[in-house]
């Protein structure tokens, strides 16, 4: 793809997100109990799903890399990890803003919250391993191991904490407790968020490809380039 085509796709994804915002604020009805704050729900759950999708790509990319020694799979995992971390951050911050008026606290050690926080920490560690390992095969192999362990660990954390205690509401989307207008808004927002995540991963993949193509193998930090010698 040429540069202008990337810009076009990115603009399209942003446009879709604006449409989703319009649906959230203009189309979806106000929640009878929680009031306007419930509108956080649409993007909160959508970005959680986008984050999980990204981390699943990290897991798959890592597994394919270890199995087939395929550098493209590793680049894809690298791109998805960064985007997934961004969406996890969005999920956590929006969740805290929603929790304060409804639960009265920003944070509680519930299974979903704890496992999402652990997810965030694991993939932040993933990106650190990438940075500290020598670039190339070592970074790819170690990161793949971290990505796979992280992906396996999150359901285990979720299970062990929910065995312990939980207060987070269950998945209300599945047992169709949502009125149709809310469900439509949610599904539309989720689709738009997934498109945005895919576009971000695509652009990041392109950046990783260009960085890998550099003859040095490692990108010189910008500070080292700009500082006077």
């Amino acid at each position: 793809m040429t540069r202008s085509r990337y810009e076009l796709v990115a603009a399209g994804a942003v446009g879709l997100m604006l449409l989703a915002a319009a649906a959230i604020f203009l189309y979806a009805p106000t929640d009878a109990l929680q009031g306007p704050v419930q509108r956080i729900f649409y993007l909160h759950v959508s970005s959680a799903i986008a984050a999980f999708a990204c981390f699943f790509v990290v897991f798959l990319g890592g597994a394919v890399y270890l199995w087939k020694d395929n550098l493209a799979a590793d680049r894809l995992a690298r791109a998805a990890a960064l985007v997934g971390l961004v969406f996890t951050t969005v999920t956590l911050v929006m969740g805290m803003e929603w929790a304060k008026p409804i639960w009265g606290v920003y944070w509680t050690w519930d299974a979903r919250l704890t496992s999402t926080l652990v997810l965030w920490i694991i993939y932040a560690g993933y990106l650190l391993v990438r940075r500290l390992a020598s670039p190339g095969r070592q970074a790819a192999r170690f990161a793949a191991v971290v990505g796979i362990f992280g992906f396996a660990d999150v359901p285990v954390v979720y299970f062990s904490v929910s065995w312990w205690r939980t207060i987070h509401p269950g998945p209300i989307v599945i047992n169709d407790a949502l009125p149709p207008a809310m469900l439509e808004t949610f599904l539309f927002t989720m689709a738009c968020t997934l498109v945005l995540a895919a576009v971000m991963v695509g652009i990041r993949y392109r950046i990783e490809t260009l960085q890998d193509a550099q003859p040095m193998g490692e990108v010189v930090p910008s500070a080292a380039v700009t500082s006077p010698t």
Binding site: L66, T114, V118, I121, I122, A124, G125, L128, V129, L132, A133, Q138, R141, F142, A144, V145, V146, I148, F149, G150, A152, D153, V156, V157, F159, S160, V161, W163, W164
Partner: protein, 220 residues
């Protein structure tokens, strides 16, 4: 069978070298006692609050002692480049890895043999079979996971920095289940055997996963 012999030989080598130098165990024992001293000044501890505070102190001390023990597991190997020599013998990486994990788990068990009685001595909490079982069961899985990441970070820059960031999130299930078991063993209400069985399940799961991963963190 050969794999078991190799794992035992690697663990024996590590323990023998520890026995000759006697570096780690005294340092770790001192470290956990110091952790209890800090807890004593950080918390207001009396006979009523001790059972509520002691489990947290135990896991904090154990997690950080574990990080020190596992962080050192591959230091000597890296400095002497002896791991390459071991790998060149054609021994299966899983067996070598299990030997390393066994060796560092044994060090941590020695450190627990200091920590648990010291906890009872300083905090006056009950010392029971359930407490010992919870700590030992958690040690198995924590050692396996800790050694995967210790082997990895030994080959990286800033290893002391990275090991806690990678290991602690993966230890959380053990701390949740082990924490619950220790709380029950110290008088809180709850099901002790349920927590212990959960620890057994977690041990099996992570022993399988780490033995699969061993090849990718040891081979170079």
């Amino acid at each position: 069978m050969r794999s078991f012999r190799i794992a035992a030989a690697v663990a024996r080598k590590d323990l023998l070298s520890e026995w000759r130098s006697r570096e780690m165990v005294p340092a770790l024992a001192q470290f956990v006692v110091l952790a209890l001293v800090i807890a004593n000044f950080g918390f207001q501890i009396d006979s009523k609050s001790a059972p509520a505070i002691a489990p947290g102190v135990l896991w904090l001390a154990l997690v950080f002692a574990g990080l020190v023990a596992f962080g050192r597991a591959f230091t000597a190997e890296r400095e002497q480049h002896s791991l390459e020599a071991v790998m060149m013998t054609g021994a299966p990486p899983t067996a070598v890895f299990m030997g390393k994990a066994l060796g560092s788990a044994a060090l941590l068990v020695v450190c627990e043999a200091v920590l648990l009685p010291a906890l009872t001595l300083f905090f006056g909490t009950p010392f029971s079979f359930g407490l010992v079982m919870a700590v030992l069961l958690a040690t198995i899985g924590m050692a396996a996971l800790g050694c995967v990441f210790a082997a990895m970070v030994a080959q990286l820059r800033a290893r002391e920095l990275l090991l806690p960031l990678l290991a602690i999130p993966l230890w959380i299930p053990f701390i949740v289940a082990g924490g619950q078991a220790v709380q029950v063993a110290m008088g809180a209400s709850g099901a002790l055997d349920q927590a212990l069985w959960l620890l057994v399940d977690l041990d099996i799961l992570f022993l399988v996963l780490t033995s699969l991963a061993a090849r990718f963190v040891l081979d170079d």
